[in-house]
């Protein structure tokens, strides 16, 4: 079938969301690791900061990213009329 302008907008919105969340994923993982030695003297909750990020902080961010994506995409489906019928 032919895609409408609305469909294309939905896909672009999806790509924007995916790109933004992947950028956060990348920064939290590789950004912090790259500067780990420089950040090692900063304390957070009694942990050295890079250790805390690797052991807990990054993981919490991952969970939140996936949760946000699921929520936002399910909303976008409704907004652009591409949601599945019924549940």
């Amino acid at each position: 079938m032919q895609l409408t302008e609305r469909h294309r907008k939905y896909w672009r919105a999806n790509l924007r969301l995916t790109g933004t969340l992947l950028a956060i994923w990348f920064a939290v993982t590789f950004g912090v690791v790259w500067f780990a030695r420089e950040l090692a003297d900063i304390k957070f909750l009694n942990f050295p900061l890079p250790f805390w990020v690797g052991a807990q902080g990054a993981l919490i961010v991952y969970v939140l990213l996936v949760r946000h994506y699921a929520r936002r995409m399910n909303e976008l489906d409704e907004e652009y009329g591409v949601a599945e019928d019924g549940r």
Binding site: T29, N46, G54, L59, Y62, V63, L65, V66, N74, V82
Partner: protein
């Protein structure tokens, strides 16, 4: 209807969790009344395996959709638990805390890699694969890139990545059963095999899914309980994840003291002397042209002694090393490993096919969230385990008299997991004189915390659940790739449902037997190859899957070339570095070979696609269909 179904399932599993807790409490009472340890071990094993078998029998099925994708009606939260159990292997459950104990900060590559990969699954793959809605990953390759070539390569990649992995799980089952039941390893392997087949043989994915949910509940209770108790004893706070920062500070203080202690230095010097002595023996043997086996053993001994002679680093210090260059290489390896584990997580077929089983795209997205949440519970506890164990060892073991060591040291020394050697002969235990097998951290924590034997039995049952659930998922993936993709799609498209399922089950049995046989040989190479599965799967599948969804222009020729080049580069680097002493590129270890293979795959697909004719109308429509949960105009 699906709401009512979800509610009924919720009721079943709440009741089940309650019953399991009661069962553990009843055993605790029995132990208090004098039930011997061996009986407790047997009761735990028998009860849990009987439970899995029961679920397997109740879920038996003769329907293709039920057998391959559990009828596509697994609610998001339960698919999350099943994915969690599917994902967390014996290595995660038993080995991870030990790796973190040994490597400190550098071990966190596993923690981040094995959770962060789910962000890629959620954003780039799961919803689209669910919308595609077939049965296997080769199915997607076959449909998107047309013809049998792409499908065949994907089948080969699936088997390559999954088989070594499943062998290692069965090996893990053998270790656990032999340790806790007192039977020999080989019998343990085949007992484990029986435990596996009762779940998957009768009911395929449907049975495996519902057993995995049950296994997740057991494994997470078993993992959290000992460390919660230990945290309560050390800090009087039962939330280990929150309070181990203060314990880490104490460990750091102890590390300073240990480094300043002259007695520690004498132990290290003694090991350095031994390493030099072995070095001379090796040189003499090499000069006389002696055989390889004893030489290889001597080299390993020399490495062990050298490692013990080295001064320790702080647990939380990132990328320790003697020189700036060494530290930079360590950082590069950390990043490469994390990247390969993440992309590998998002490419392992046994994980991806789980997202075919949800009722809708919407639930597939939610399901990745639940999967990651349930996996997160274990992975963010593992570093706490390591720190608590280190605290215990550094404060209560190191520096005490060797004849007065606590009881758990002796009991695990009997099994060869703990070794103590008074190399400098002063009768006091120095850090270098203690050797801990990584597995002992999780297995011995109940005893270290002084908990009753029931908890040790619970941990063993949890380890068994982790190994069995992963092995089941992998076995099913291999058997389905062979039966569905090779037999049904390529050999006999007219095969009846009964025949397809019969072939599936026959292959399942065959693959399971081969894997058990290989595991019973205890092959060292197979075990070290498990970590390769991630690089192999990542380089073979990830570029073709992602570009297949996000780039309509990706062509059949591009994908075929990309998969072959990605796989080829990865295997070339792995085998070259591991077995032929090839010079490492940028100092990257063989485990992270995917760091070269994945980009090679992407670039190849891109270049070849641009030089080949664009995909036909039907393929473009397939991509459009996959991108939108529903297309109504």
């Amino acid at each position: 209807m699906s709401r009512a179904f979800a509610n009924r399932i919720k009721k079943y599993y709440s009741f089940y969790t309650g019953a399991f807790v009661m069962f553990v409490l009843a055993l605790a009472v029995a132990e208090y009344m004098g039930m011997p340890d061996q009986w407790i071990g047997w009761t735990f094993m028998a009860a849990t395996v009987a439970l899995y078998a029961g679920i397997g029998i109740v879920s038996r099925t003769a329907d293709v959709t039920e057998y391959y994708v559990a009828g596509r009606r697994v609610p998001a939260i339960f698919n999350g638990m099943a994915t969690g159990a599917d994902w967390m292997s014996a290595a995660s459950f038993i080995g991870m805390a030990g790796t973190l104990y040994a490597k400190g900060y550098d071990g966190l590559a596993f923690v981040m890699g094995w959770t962060g990969g789910y962000v890629l699954v959620a954003l780039l793959l799961a919803p689209y694969l669910r919308k595609f809605g077939q049965f296997t990953i080769p199915d997607f390759m076959g449909a998107r890139y047309g013809g049998h070539t792409a499908r065949t390569i994907a089948v080969a990649g699936t088997i390559l990545a999954s088989f070594t992995y499943v062998t290692a799980q069965i090996y893990g089952v053998g270790i656990i059963t032999s340790r806790f039941l007192g039977i020999t390893f080989e019998i343990g392997v085949f007992v484990g095999l029986a435990g596996l087949l009762v779940c998957s043989f009768l009911g395929g994915m449907r049975a495996v899914t519902w057993t995995q949910v049950a296994q997740y509940i057991i494994l997470i209770i078993a993992y959290l309980m000992p460390v919660v108790f230990m945290s309560y004893q050390v800090t009087s706070m039962p939330v280990p994840q929150l309070v181990y920062g203060t314990v880490l500070e104490k460990v750091t203080e102890r590390e300073e003291e240990i480094m300043a202690d002259p007695a520690q230095a004498t132990a290290r010097d003694a090991y350095r002397a031994r390493a030099e002595e072995i070095g001379r023996a090796i040189a003499a043997l090499e000069a006389s042209g002696s055989n390889g086996e004893s030489l290889a053993q001597l080299r390993r001994d020399k490495e062990t002694a050298e490692a013990k002679a080295r001064p320790i680093h702080h647990h939380a210090e990132p990328f320790p090393g003697e020189t700036e260059a060494e530290r930079d290489t360590a950082r590069l390896n950390f990043i490469a490993l994390t990247f390969c584990l993440m992309v590998g997580t998002a490419s392992l077929p046994h994980v991806l096919i789980r997202f075919y089983t949800t009722p809708s795209v919407r639930e597939a997205r939610e399901s990745v969230f639940w999967s990651l949440f349930f996996i997160f519970l274990l992975y963010f506890t593992a570093p706490a385990y390591a720190v608590f164990a280190k605290y215990e060892v550094y404060t209560n073991l190191i520096g005490s008299s060797i004849v007065e060591l606590p009881g758990w040291v002796a009991s695990w020394a009997k099994l060869g997991l703990v070794k103590v050697e008074d190399i400098n002969g002063d009768g006091i235990l120095q850090l270098a004189e203690l050797t801990l097998n990584p597995d002992v951290i999780v297995l011995a924590t109940p005893e270290i915390a002084g908990l009753p034997y029931v908890v040790a039995g619970l941990v063993a049952a949890g380890g068994l659940a982790a190994a069995l659930s992963t092995a089941d998922g992998l076995l099913l993936t291999i058997a389905n790739a062979l039966s569905h993709d090779v037999y049904y799609q390529m050999i006999d498209r007219q095969a009846s449902t009964t025949r397809r399922l019969a072939v599936s089950k026959g292959l399942l049995l065959l693959v399971a037997l081969i894997a058990a046989y290989v595991a019973s040989l205890k092959p060292d190479t197979i075990l070290s190859m498990v970590a390769w599965a991630f690089s192999i799967a990542a380089a073979c599948f990830f570029p073709a899957l992602v570009l297949g969804i996000f780039w309509q222009r990706a062509t059949r020729e591009g994908a075929i070339a990309g998969m072959l080049v990605g796989l080829g580069v990865t295997l070339f680097y792995l085998v070259g570095v591991k077995f032929y002493g090839m010079t490492k590129w940028l100092g990257i270890t063989d485990v992270s070979a995917g760091i070269f293979g994945i980009p090679a795959g992407f670039v190849t697909i891109w270049l070849v696609s641009l030089f080949t004719p664009a995909p036909d109308r039907a393929t473009l429509e397939l991509v459009e269909r996959v991108r939108y949960p529903s297309l109504r105009g």
